[in-house]
């Protein structure tokens, strides 16, 4: 713990640190590849939409006295039938004498397999099963209203970040990081083939909120450091990079604290329960929150520096910082009779930006 604590102090003072900004091209490339994979998965495999979105078929199975055990047994039987559209059946008792089973729309052969599994388990004849088409409970209107809400929120949050930090470039960087997180999360769903349910939608929205939240926390430190750019005699990129490093301990701690419970749910959902709606949701949250912390540090801040680098003041500060560095590297540079490249030890307090 002692060494770790020392690291915390060094990160704060800037004696040690990872130059995220200098390595931004690598970080961009990593994210670009991840996003490309996600987009590929989306377009190639598509999303596995649940009954709530697609509608489906409902079977009503008469049983002598309906108990939860009957429902559980039938659910297992439908799952074991291995039919793709029946991988997430919604099974519940209905009244005292029936169990209802909802599955996605099935082909004739698949329907026959499912019916057989039900008949064998419930010990009824196929004629006793009633079967009906059910519509989607997630109507188009809900989706449209949710999208309108999202659009309004995005516009407002852009304005909010702009107003709070007095910097529209931070809004842009935060939005890019947000898109990054959401696309990657949705890509995970495409690749794993997990069913997309209304709970998934709330999961993605959680990530949306978390991603912006985390970015604002990091940017708050960036703003603080860069506001003091002149006094601290740093360039914008140095100040921003220091801010990221100073909040690095927070980022690591926060992601651990947020991810540990989700990880536990994911583990229980996937390993102990063996496939459940819980596991699908936990995976989305896990990936999305990890991406959210990552993107605040590795995407949003470097991107912000890139955007800011076109500004005259920032360029000037960069020039001054370089000049100072030269001066620090060679305190006698201005003194005649000494060579320009006279070797001297690096000042530990200054991270040379052009050293890599």
């Amino acid at each position: 713990m002692g060494r770790f604590a020392q690291l915390g102090n060094d990160l704060h003072s800037g004696q040690r640190g990872i130059d995220f900004v200098a390595r931004r091209l690598v970080l961009y490339a990593v994210s670009a590849v991840l996003i490309a994979i996600a987009v590929f998965g989306l377009s190639y495999k598509g999303l596995n939409l649940g009954i709530e979105f697609t509608g489906g078929t409902q079977y009503r199975v008469p049983v002598a006295s309906a108990t939860q055990d009957d429902a559980d047994a039938l659910r297992q039987a439908v799952l074991d039938s291995g039919v793709e559209g029946a991988s997430n059946p919604i099974v519940s008792t209905a009244g005292d004498d029936a169990v209802q089973i909802q599955v996605e729309p099935l082909s004739l052969e698949d329907a026959a397999i499912v019916t057989e599994a039900i008949v064998a388990t419930a010990n009824v004849s196929a004629d006793d099963l009633s079967q009906e088409d059910i519509g989607a409970s997630w109507g188009r209107q809900i989706a449209e209203r949710a999208l309108v809400g999202l659009a309004v929120f995005i516009v407002l949050v852009v304005l909010f970040i702009w107003a709070y930090f007095r910097e529209w470039k931070m809004s842009v960087a935060a939005l890019v990081a947000l898109a990054h997180d959401v696309v990657i999360t949705v890509g995970v769903y495409a690749f794993t083939g997990f069913e997309v349910t209304p709970a998934t939608v709330t999961g993605v929205l959680t990530i949306l909120a978390f991603s912006l939240y985390d970015t604002v926390v990091v940017f708050d430190k960036v703003r603080e450091n860069t506001a003091a750019m002149r006094e601290s005699r740093k360039s914008y990129r140095q100040a921003a990079n220091l801010a990221v490093n100073q909040t690095l301990v927070r980022s690591v701690n926060t992601s651990l604290v947020a991810l540990l419970p989700v990880g536990a749910i994911l583990y229980v959902g996937a390993v102990q329960l063996g496939g459940s709606s819980l596991q699908d949701l936990a995976l989305a949250l896990f990936v999305g929150m990890a991406a959210g912390t990552y993107s605040s540090v590795c995407i949003a801040t470097p991107l912000l520096v890139d955007l800011k680098n076109t500004e005259d003041e920032v360029k000037l500060a960069e020039k001054r910082a370089k000049a100072r560095q030269r001066a620090a590297a060679d305190p006698y540079a201005s003194v005649p009779n000494f060579a320009d490249d006279m070797p001297i030890h690096n000042d530990p307090g200054v991270e040379p930006p052009s050293s890599r």
Partner: protein, 594 residues
């Protein structure tokens, strides 16, 4: 600021008092277990079967409207689906959802019509004295000051008492039913009985006509009204109603009228006149509809200032506002009424008390909170395009998740949070106890809020909801982490703990306020715009964000300030989490500046 920090103990005491009050409320509500959602506990399923063949589009539209009604606040997480082409299935968490059937089923077709006459004002009663076969000239019989027979006297009494009440009535409109008792009494007392006899003979006449194989008086009314040019101008039509309709109205009264329990003998067609009743058994002859319920922009339930009874407030859209202003101009200062007709029944037949030109009006009457809200909800979420058969199939449904999922999810979340606490303790040592205490407090408040909301707002916990809350508690810990890192940073640049706690607080507070503002913004915007499960999410997000801020401001910060008084922390004990070693600075650096 200084006063606040000087008395962190007092803030803590107040905080715990408020928490105790919250739990006191929970105890009053009497439930210690939250209402679980459909997936965990099951609920009630209502299957509504449409009359006839509604068509896919209308059925889906009805599904959407019912969805809006049951999920209006977004926290109940009811599911509404179509089934088999002519059925809508509503699944509502909890077994006591049967009282929702009324809300679900109400078709809520709201129309505004004008009153030509009613059993109370008796403006059509004069027709009863006329011989059979003679066309009535309504202009000679209808204006009240010209007709002075017995039946009309009763009506006048009624009108006067109504007018008297109108001046004292609530809001912009007075509801006639408040005064109906008086009016009806007046009619009975003074000559109303004579009129009744006349009407009976009149009714016999009409029945005879029916017996002779002619069309029913109601159909005759509709047919005649269709030919009558004034039908298109309801404002003049009420002064001069189609004769056949006046006849039909008389016959309706003669055959027992509203006493027989028939609310409406005619279909509620907006283009035709309508003979119908209200809840108190008053019969009305109404003009064709002037404003449709779809022309309402919004409806709500409220208690106007300085009043005690609920009213339903209405605001019309552009066209509705214009038409309503016309009605208002024509009716103001007269005894003429207009009628608000819901599903073919007169809900209220007020007179116009003032000119309402801005399209904002209110219905006052015998509303209590529930009935006012129910009506406002029905109006706001529109009318159903289809009617349903009576006696929907209602049954109890079981949970859709296997029984072990809830306990597994809770166990997993518990284990996860325990690891989080362990980590905080290892990393932050003494301060870790503050994190753990804060997490417990946050969890405690969240639980109390969930309990209170399940009682008051039908909030239900689904499995994804529980996962969301566990995640939210994890995110709550971020505020503390931001704060503690700030304190440590301040101490690293040489401030003493007492100073660092306050300096760090100021900076951490701003950071957390900004970040939480983003979350709150998301919550509010999504709650306002979205529907269904997204609305539920927004609600939960807003709730947990506010709890985060409350705990951070009124528990964590005073707690740390309070602890800073103790040597253990402010002298940087090895286990306090603030010792020079854990901060990674040389001891002299802190000591020197302290």
């Amino acid at each position: 600021m200084a006063r606040k920090t000087a008395r962190p103990g007092r803030t803590l005491v107040v905080f715990f008092l408020v928490m105790a009050i919250a739990y006191g409320l929970v105890a009053l509500a009497g439930t210690w277990k939250p209402t679980l959602g459909l997936d965990l506990q099951g609920g009630t399923s209502i299957t509504l079967r449409a009359e006839g063949d509604p068509g896919e589009e209308a059925l889906d539209q009805a599904r959407q409207i019912i969805d809006d009604r049951v999920n209006g606040s977004g926290v109940a997480e009811a599911e509404v689906t179509t089934q088999g082409g002519n059925e809508i299935v509503v699944e509502i968490p909890g077994e006591n959802a049967r009282n929702l059937i009324e809300t679900v089923q109400r078709t809520a077709q709201l129309r505004f019509r004008l009153v030509a006459c009613s059993t109370v004002d008796g403006r059509c009663a004069t027709t009863t004295g006329l011989p059979e076969g003679i066309q009535i000239d309504p202009s000679t019989t209808l204006p009240q000051d010209e007709s002075q027979d017995g039946g009309q006297d009763g009506g006048q009494d009624g009108d006067q008492s109504q007018g008297g009440n109108n001046r004292a009535a609530l809001g912009a409109w007075a509801r006639l039913s408040d005064t109906q008792g008086d009016g009806a009494d007046g009619a009975d007392g003074s000559g109303g009985s004579g009129g009744q006899g006349d009407e009976n003979s009149n009714g016999n006449r009409n029945r005879n006509r029916n017996g002779n194989g002619q069309q029913s008086p109601y159909d005759a009314c509709i047919a005649a009204a269709a030919d009558d040019e004034t039908t298109a101008e309801p404002l003049s039509w009420i002064d001069n109603p189609t004769t056949a309709c006046v006849d039909a109205f008389s016959q309706f009264q003669a055959s027992g009228g509203c006493q027989q329990g028939a609310t409406s003998v005619m279909g509620d067609d907006p283009a035709t006149p309508l003979i119908t009743c209200d809840e108190d058994g008053i019969a009305y002859l109404l003009s064709p509809a002037m404003i449709e319920g779809t022309q309402l922009d919004d409806a709500g339930a409220a208690i106007p200032q300085q009043q005690v009874n609920y009213v339903v407030t209405l605001s019309f859209d552009g066209d509705g506002t214009e038409v309503f202003a016309d009605i208002s101009n024509a009716l103001v200062g007269t005894e003429k009424q207009f009628a608000i007709v819901l599903d073919g029944q007169v809900l209220s037949a007020p007179t116009m008390e003032g000119r309402i030109l801005d399209g904002n009006a209110q219905i006052s009457g015998d509303f209590n909170e529930t009935t006012a809200n129910s009506l406002a909800t029905s109006l706001r979420y529109g009318s159903l395009p289809i009617a349903f058969e009576d006696q929907p199939l209602v049954e109890t449904i079981g949970p859709s998740l296997a029984g072990d999922q809830l306990s597994a999810g809770l166990t997993a979340g518990g284990i996860g949070l325990a690891i989080v606490m362990l980590y905080c303790l290892l990393y932050y040592r003494g301060l870790g106890t503050v994190v753990i205490a804060s997490l417990f407090v946050a969890a405690g408040i969240t639980y109390a809020m969930v309990l209170l909301l399940s009682e008051t707002a039908n909030f239900t916990l689904t499995l994804p909801g529980i996962a969301g809350i566990i995640v939210a508690v994890g995110i709550t810990a971020d505020s503390f982490i931001v704060y503690f890192e700030r304190i440590r940073d301040e101490m690293r640049i040489g401030k003493s703990m007492k100073v660092a706690v306050e300096a760090g607080w100021k900076r951490a507070r701003n950071t957390c306020l900004a970040a939480d503002a983003v979350s709150l913004l998301a919550a509010v915007v999504l709650y306002v715009f979205a529907a269904g499960v997204v609305k539920g999410f927004a609600f939960a997000l807003g709730l947990t964000t506010i709890i985060d801020l409350v705990v951070f401001f009124w528990f964590t910060h005073p707690m740390v300030s309070w602890l800073a008084k103790y040597r253990f922390f402010n002298k940087g004990h090895r286990l306090s989490g603030l010792s020079p070693e854990t901060l990674g600075v040389a001891r002299t650096a802190t000591g020197g500046n302290a």
